[in-house]
């Protein structure tokens, strides 16, 4: 099952005009500012918004084709749609919300199946609760369970983590990553958070004013942003590699560049390592390699941009990095483009997420 979308739609201020293809099991992220047309793209796929022209093809099924006047209603497109505010039915309990997606099943089995879906997302004890007494994270999981219970051919996630506080978000993100690994359905994830996209998606499309401005893997986009706009969105440094647990309880990640970094997160196998630019400190070139608490990577300053009282450094080397340092540090170390430096950051500041 794959999904192909070509859509042109008038959205008031601008025209949505984009093409995308998601293969079976692939997760595609649409990243961009609010009002860029990301959610509208999901609505076009689900049949909630009729484009002026274009095609939406899922596997062998044509869901929309302006040339052939095909326009299937939403209920005939098998989409698992997680809405931004989750859109749980307020008068139904958690299991009843999930059972609503099980219209194809005999009535007697629905409750059983719905409870099973909730159990998969660790929500079996909350099955009888109404949405208004569920926490944000629980609501998000009920919405996800409901979307998955539809046995979707396409999974559509509209800002699935943005309504959550930062602590809940980490846990919810893990649940989501697990669910994505298990589903065969091509997935379109809408987010304005590049880090989230990097964690969850295989391929990222940066969308602005209804158009795709750049696409690629998180690493590609972070390393070579085509425009300042894209650069701005790639907030966190994203590194891919293979994780190995150490006897001292830390994790060593062998990056694809050959460099080694450490993290206090636990992970094994392919991982995405992220670090925020403001966690990275710049020191004169040289010094020892990775220690158990401090990562150290050799790099060259490619460019420097002052933002407020801080300076953003684009670093090249075996790995593309972005560091944010104070103007005082720049003056103290006489930093300038072309200079060789060491970028260091703590193992505790390195987040690891399993790479799908």
């Amino acid at each position: 099952m794959s999904l192909q979308v070509e859509a042109v739609a008038e959205l008031g201020a601008f025209t949505l005009d984009l093409e995308l293809t998601a293969a079976r099991g692939q997760c595609l992220a649409l990243v961009g500012p609010s009002g860029a047309g990301k959610s509208s793209t999901l609505r076009v796929i689900a049949g909630l918004l009729k484009p002026t022209r274009g095609r939406v093809v899922c596997g062998e099924e044509r869901w929309f084709d302006s040339l052939a006047s095909v326009n299937l209603p939403p209920e005939l497109r098998r989409c698992g749609y997680v809405f931004q505010d989750y859109a749980l039915f307020p008068q139904l309990s958690a299991w009843q919300n999930v059972a609503y997606a099980l219209r194809d099943e005999p009535r007697r089995q629905r409750e059983r199946t719905a409870r099973d879906w909730l159990a998969r997302l660790d929500l079996e004890d909350r099955a009888d609760a109404r949405p208004n007494v569920l926490s944000g994270g629980e609501r998000q999981r009920v919405a996800l369970a409901r979307a998955l219970a539809r046995r979707p051919d396409v999974l559509l996630l509209d800002e699935p983590l943005s309504a959550l506080d930062s602590q809940t978000r980490a846990a919810a993100s893990r649940h989501l990553a697990d669910a994505l690994t298990q589903t065969e359905a091509p997935t379109i994830l809408v987010t304005h958070d590049f880090t989230q996209a990097a964690q969850l998606a295989d391929h990222i499309l940066i969308v602005d004013a209804g158009r795709i401005v750049q696409q690629g893997t998180a690493t590609e986009l972070a390393a070579k942003p085509a425009t300042a706009f894209v650069a701005d969105f790639t907030g966190a440094v994203v590194l891919r590699g293979t994780a190995q647990r150490q006897p001292d309880g830390t994790t060593v990640v062998m990056l694809s560049s050959g460099e080694e970094i450490r993290s206090t997160d636990l992970a094994v196998g392919p991982v995405v390592a992220t670090v925020y630019p403001w966690e990275i400190t710049i020191e004169p070139a040289g010094g020892s390699g990775a220690r158990s608490t401090q990562n150290r990577v050799q790099a060259t300053i490619h460019s420097m941009t002052t933002i407020g009282g801080r300076v953003r450094l684009a670093l090249t080397g075996p790995d593309a990095l972005v560091a944010e340092v104070t103007t005082t540090a720049v003056a103290h170390l006489s930093l300038a483009p072309g200079m060789a430096v060491s970028a260091t950051w703590k193992a505790t500041a390195t987040r690891l997420i399993a790479d799908r």
């Binding site: 749609y81 859109a87 139904l92 609503y100």
Partner: protein
């Protein structure tokens, strides 16, 4: 300090004035009616006939209003189309129409020589001066109260609930029945109560269009009016009965639908 306090005082004073003005006549009806007069009004067959007629005609009218008005209000709330404002204005027009004008209008439309009444009469259907004409008059004046409220209730629903229902495989009809109605239920009940109250109290249009024949078209308000000039005590007692019945219906409707809303949703 004082400058902080005057506004709440004004609010409280305003509410007190409103409450006093609106509640006083209702209280007066009960104060002036002796329990004996109240009981006596049930011995009067004309009063009982009027009460029975009022109850079944208003129930039927409200039933018709809900049946046709709910989907109509849903359409108005969920779709934007050309001429929508004209449609809404036409629906709300009976609200501002003087009841006497409503009665004349109904006569002109459905009376023996009316626009539609003529052909109907030729086909052997004559509604004039029958209980059916009472139901028509009540439906006409009460429908806007329900439809307006229902439209507002449906408009206030989170659109993403309706959309989520569609993406979960439910047709628009199923979404309407399983999601829109249960979630809009509190608003629909308010509309139903308003419409029922308006239908029970209807006077002018009924008098003009259906007349005031005992047991056939004489509803409680018409019976009260008939007594008013000759038997003020009897009129008062019947008024007290009408207030009690209206109040009772409103409370019952609210309680009953609150429970059934929960059941419909869970089913």
């Amino acid at each position: 300090m004082r400058s902080h306090r005057w506004f709440p005082v004004v609010l409280t004073a305003a509410l007190s004035v409103v409450l006093l003005f609106l509640a006083l006549p209702v209280v007066a009806i009960f104060v002036d009616t002796t329990p004996a007069a109240l009981v006596a009004s049930f011995d009067d067959p004309a009063a009982v006939d009027a009460l029975v007629l009022s109850l079944w005609t208003s129930t039927l009218a409200v039933g018709l209003i809900v049946l046709a008005g709910t989907p109509a209000a849903y359409l108005l709330a969920t779709r934007r189309f050309r001429g929508r404002n004209v449609v809404v204005t036409l629906i709300e027009l009976p609200l501002v129409l003087p009841p006497a004008v409503a009665g004349i209008g109904l006569l002109a439309a459905l009376g023996p020589r009316g626009l539609l009444g003529g052909p109907l009469r030729d086909a052997g259907i004559d509604v004039s001066l029958t209980s059916v004409s009472v139901v028509i008059a009540l439906t006409f004046v009460a429908a806007p109260f329900y439809i307006r409220q229902a439209e507002a209730a449906f408009s206030a629903l989170d659109r993403s609930w309706l959309e989520a229902s569609r993406t979960l495989g439910a047709s628009e009809a199923t979404t309407f029945a399983r999601i829109a109605i249960p979630t809009a239920m509190p608003g629909l009940v308010v509309g139903l109560a308003l419409a029922w109250g308006r239908a029970l109290g209807e006077f002018g249009a009924t008098l003009m269009f259906a007349g005031s024949f005992r047991g056939v078209t004489q509803t409680v308000p018409l019976a009260i009016y008939e007594r008013f000039s000759t038997d003020f005590t009897g009129a008062l007692a019947l008024s007290a009965v009408l207030v009690a019945v209206s109040g009772g219906i409103l409370i019952t409707v609210r309680l009953a639908t609150r429970r059934s809303a929960v059941r419909v949703a869970a089913g």
